[in-house]
């Protein structure tokens, strides 16, 4: 039972990047304003590479307790 709950939380964490890219990123499709020097879409897609890694890291912690 406990394992099932962990798997569920991990899968929720793993689907966050899909939401960020497929559902949210289209709202950033405009040439201005430049954020950190970049167009909004590029900025969003770039920071989410790091945030994806972070989400999966959390999923790993949830699944294996960081070991």
């Amino acid at each position: 039972m406990r394992n099932k709950k962990r798997d569920f939380i991990a899968i929720i964490l793993g689907s966050i990047p899909w939401i960020a890219y497929v559902i949210v990123s289209p709202f950033f499709n405009k040439p201005k304003p430049l954020i950190a020097g970049m167009p909004p879409l590029m900025f969003w897609d770039t920071i989410w590479m790091a945030l994806t890694s972070f989400c999966l890291f959390l999923a790993y912690i949830v699944e294996f307790g960081g070991r």
Partner: protein, 482 residues
């Protein structure tokens, strides 16, 4: 020494060095097909990570991404997106590939199809799909290698001659080392590529325009249409290619042997936690492509953009250093995927046709087909040269059609050989029709995703009419025992 000779000698010195490492790593290997293809399932996290990273980051990421950014601008964002999507998916999915491989002794992807669906015909069919759609992937590596030698030699070598030389280097890689050797050469190459991308390529917009902000302000003034998505490569193209590639990534047959090669699940998962960070490497590459566009250069071969960007701001010999990194990226991927295609041929087509074949015979067949596929890809690269991004997406279009069988088949008892096969055929017919006879990317959605949609509909309808597949019960029981 003149500039051409210096640039070329840097490239070939690096190639020579990586070859020596590959040969040393390959010497101790025993000559079984399993050893040749999956390294006896003993790869740890570090080797696994570099193997996958260097295998993933190929001529496509190094040259193709820059070329697409140079030509169109923002549509290339799909490439940043799909990597993350793929790893977030693979983090959960790869475990099942690995478990099934360990439990049932799979060496290739088609082994899974044969065992799970108890169908030799489906194994041959999926092996053929894998091989056919790996060919454009090999082709794009060869084209990229040709471009590198073309620009790296300051136009002394023609692109075709460059591709022929590259082919020989790739064959030497494959023949001397097998997967483990490739893993070790990739270890060097992965590090080298990373240093080049951040140390050399990243500086290009700074040297040319004084920073990333000034680069984009320049584009806002001169080419604002490059800074947002609009048809024909509009929002539907961006989303459909990222979904197609994000779902299809883990279906590539050449990734399965490296997943089987893992020692355990944990190193595998750790790899996918870290890999999205490695995608940052595409950022300098994209910026370099955009720099060439902002500088107003007109390129006859757009996929040479990253090399032209280097030429724009650095002395010529730097082309040799960047070329070496790109060459390493492309050659390592090319060797790994040709090896996978040849492995599929030997163990899932030849062995089914001739069950009595000895292990030694299979290795021989696999090695002969390495040459055959390499030459086939070279011929295509000469007569039907394409844009690198388009070639990769063509590959994905076919490979992703195996998604229902490869993914749903692992979890759902109603997936059997009949609905899987029907879906595959429907999907392939759809993409062939759209690509060659129809409107291509209908409604702006990539034809590969249309294929997958039709495929899914057929599989789901088929699943509604069947009871559980008996093979699935055995398959599931096997996995649970592990």
């Amino acid at each position: 020494m003149n500039e051409t000779a210096l640039s070329l000698s840097i490239i070939f010195t690096w190639i020579g060095l990586t070859l020596v490492v590959g040969i040393l790593a390959g010497i101790k290997r025993k000559f079984s097909l399993e050893g040749y293809l999956v390294s006896g399932r003993a790869l740890g996290a570090l080797l696994l990570y570099t193997l996958m990273a260097a295998e993933i980051y190929s001529a496509y990421a190094f040259l193709g991404v820059a070329g697409w950014a140079y030509s169109y601008g923002m549509p290339i964002m799909y490439a940043l997106a799909y990597g993350s999507l793929a790893y977030a998916f693979g983090y959960f999915y790869a475990k099942y590939i690995w478990k099934a491989g360990k439990k049932f002794g799979y060496v290739t992807q088609a082994d899974y199809f044969m065992h799970r669906f108890n169908s030799k015909a489906l194994a041959v069919f999926t092996a053929l799909i894998g091989i056919v759609f790996i060919i454009p992937y090999v082709q794009l590596q060869l084209q990229g290698l040709g471009y590198i030698l073309h620009v790296g030699s300051l136009n002394t070598l023609s692109i075709n001659l460059g591709m022929a030389i590259a082919l020989i280097v790739v064959l030497i890689y494959v023949y001397t080392s097998g997967l483990r050797g490739i893993a070790w050469t990739n270890f060097l190459q992965g590090i080298f590529m990373f240093i080049i991308a951040w140390g050399v390529v990243f500086a290009i917009p700074f040297l040319k325009f004084g920073g990333i902000g000034p680069l984009f302000r320049r584009l806002l003034e001169t080419k604002p249409q490059m800074l947002y998505l609009h048809p024909p490569l509009g929002m539907s193209w961006y989303l459909s290619t990222m979904i197609l590639s994000g779902l299809g990534f883990f279906i590539w047959p050449h990734l399965w042997p490296s997943i089987f090669g893992a020692k355990d699940i944990k190193p595998l998962k750790k790899t996918y936690v870290v890999l999205p960070l490695y995608s940052f490497f595409m950022l300098p590459v994209i910026l370099a492509g955009l720099t060439v566009a902002a500088a107003g250069l007109k390129l006859s071969v757009p996929d040479e953009a990253i090399l032209k960007a280097v030429e724009l701001v650095y002395p010529k010999w730097v082309l040799g250093v960047v070329g070496a990194a790109g060459f390493a990226a492309a050659a390592s991927t090319a060797s790994a995927i040709i090896l996978a295609a040849a492995g599929l041929t030997a163990s899932n087509i030849y062995r089914i046709a001739k069950p009595s074949a000895s292990d030694k015979e299979l290795v021989l067949v696999s090695r002969l087909f390495v040459v055959f596929y390499a030459l086939l890809a070279l011929s295509l690269a000469i007569v039907a040269r394409g844009r690198l991004v388009a070639l990769l997406l063509l590959g994905y279009s076919g490979i992703t059609q195996m998604f229902p069988g490869a993914v749903l088949g692992m979890f759902w008892k109603r997936i059997n050989k009949w609905n899987t096969t029907a879906g595959l055929i429907a999907g392939l017919v759809t993409i062939i029709y759209l690509k060659f006879f129809g409107p291509g990317n209908y409604l702006g959605i990539h034809f590969g995703l249309w294929g997958l949609i039709v495929n899914f509909i057929v599989v789901l309808i088929g699943a509604a009419f069947v009871k559980g597949d008996r093979n699935f019960e055995e398959f599931k029981k096997g996995l649970e025992e592990l």
